[in-house]
């Protein structure tokens, strides 16, 4: 998967960190660190993070080829 977060929009609500704690982490008060290339097996957790973001700042692209291979 490919993930990018629009950090202009992000307001550090941390909902993604609860939804997919392996892939999104807040450092300090509001610095978001995320995995831009999570494995396809994380699809459900990443989808939860996308949906839960109050400002819809997370964009994901599923890699069709990689997932077919997996």
């Amino acid at each position: 998967m490919r993930v990018v977060v629009d950090l202009n929009r992000c307001q550090a609500y941390a909902q993604c960190c609860y939804a997919a704690p392996e892939r999104f982490v807040l450092q300090g008060d509001e610095i978001l660190v995320y995995d831009p290339a999570p494995p396809a097996s994380d699809r459900a957790a990443i989808d939860r993070a996308v949906q839960a973001c109050p400002v819809r700042a997370i964009r994901v692209e599923h890699d069709a080829l990689a997932e077919r291979a997996a």
Binding site: Q11, Y13, A14, Q15, C17, Y18, A19, P21, A44, D47, R48, Q51, A52, P54, V55, R56
Partner: protein, 416 residues
Amino acid sequence: MTDASDGTLFAQVRDSANRADPYPLYARLRVRPVARQDDGTFVASGYAAIRALLHDPRVSSEDLPPAEHPPTGNPVKDWIVNPLKDWVTDRHRPFIFRDPPDHGLLRRQVMGQFTIARVQGMKRRTEGLVAQCLERCAGSRHFDLVDDLAYPLPVTVICELLGVPREDEPRFHAWATQLATALEPESRHDEALRARNTETFDAIADYMRDLIREKRRAPRDDMLSGLATAKDPQAGRMSDPDLIATAILLLIAGHETTVNLITNGMLTLLRRPRELARLRADPERAPRVIEELLRYEPPVHFRTRVARAPIPVAGTVIPEGAPLVLLFAAGNRDPARFPDPDRFDPDRADNQHFGFGGALHYCVGAPLARIEAEAALTALAARLSNPRLAEDPPPYRPGASLRGPKRLLLHIDGIG
């Protein structure tokens, strides 16, 4: 009289006759995104206006002690300016009724205990609790979603997170039910009700005081132990009054709201059997379904604030001191923000709803609410056989803000 100048619309919203479907009133209110009501209250119902006000530092959540806000005789205004003043002294205000910088310090301490590990840890447990509730009803042809599932679940979850001993849980159920009535403006008219709420507040405060002492003596791995023993680098140790206020807040806030999310959610799905079937076939739709429910039928319809200074917004100026209502449920249906807003559509893109409020006071318990709603709705979709609404609309509890059915009777063929 044109709709826009009808200064009684918010009074009509609070009228229980309109509880089952307040949305036409919201549409009329939105004609003026920020509308002055006859009693001097300003109601924000347009999406853009609500968003602007949520972030505006002049919009205050401070609930000041009675001495600083003598009653005006206008019950709605008094309630907004000072919702808990019958019970709360200046030192007993939870962070939901505080402004920065105090708010930030208190909230940070709570967030420090509302850890990802604790919340994630409740996921399995919540699924287990839902299964238990359904087991209890096995063999029955009737199911009251409120009493049989939506009501008991959140209290148990929050009690376990806080670290309330299991044997004390029944008392919490009763207290939570009672105190929810204090959050509605109409409670101020009812002297008997106010007296009962005061008693309840005292009882729960006494209980918490003892429990916190016990947690300090023998800390366990729970939120209350953490709050009672942790030391914030800036704020230091949380005071007993703050701790008690926080614990009570978490109990109440995590309770009625989640009941409503689950109950309104199932009601919405039962009215749209196709959506219920889709969720049953694909439980991974749950996050989308829940976000759309939070927009379409939010558990909290409005929150109140006070203007600390004149605020220009949406072509009007809210004067200093004016009570202010942020009508989230109306903003969530604003056609200027959401295409076809009255359609329930889990596949909606860009669903930035106010279901958990927003800005500094964004719901602390949102991740927990999502977990509970997902566990409940996916299990109900999967296991209830041929569920039908026994009455539509169902009877509602009195609350206009924390709005939800008093009961939701379902006919079922069985529980799988």
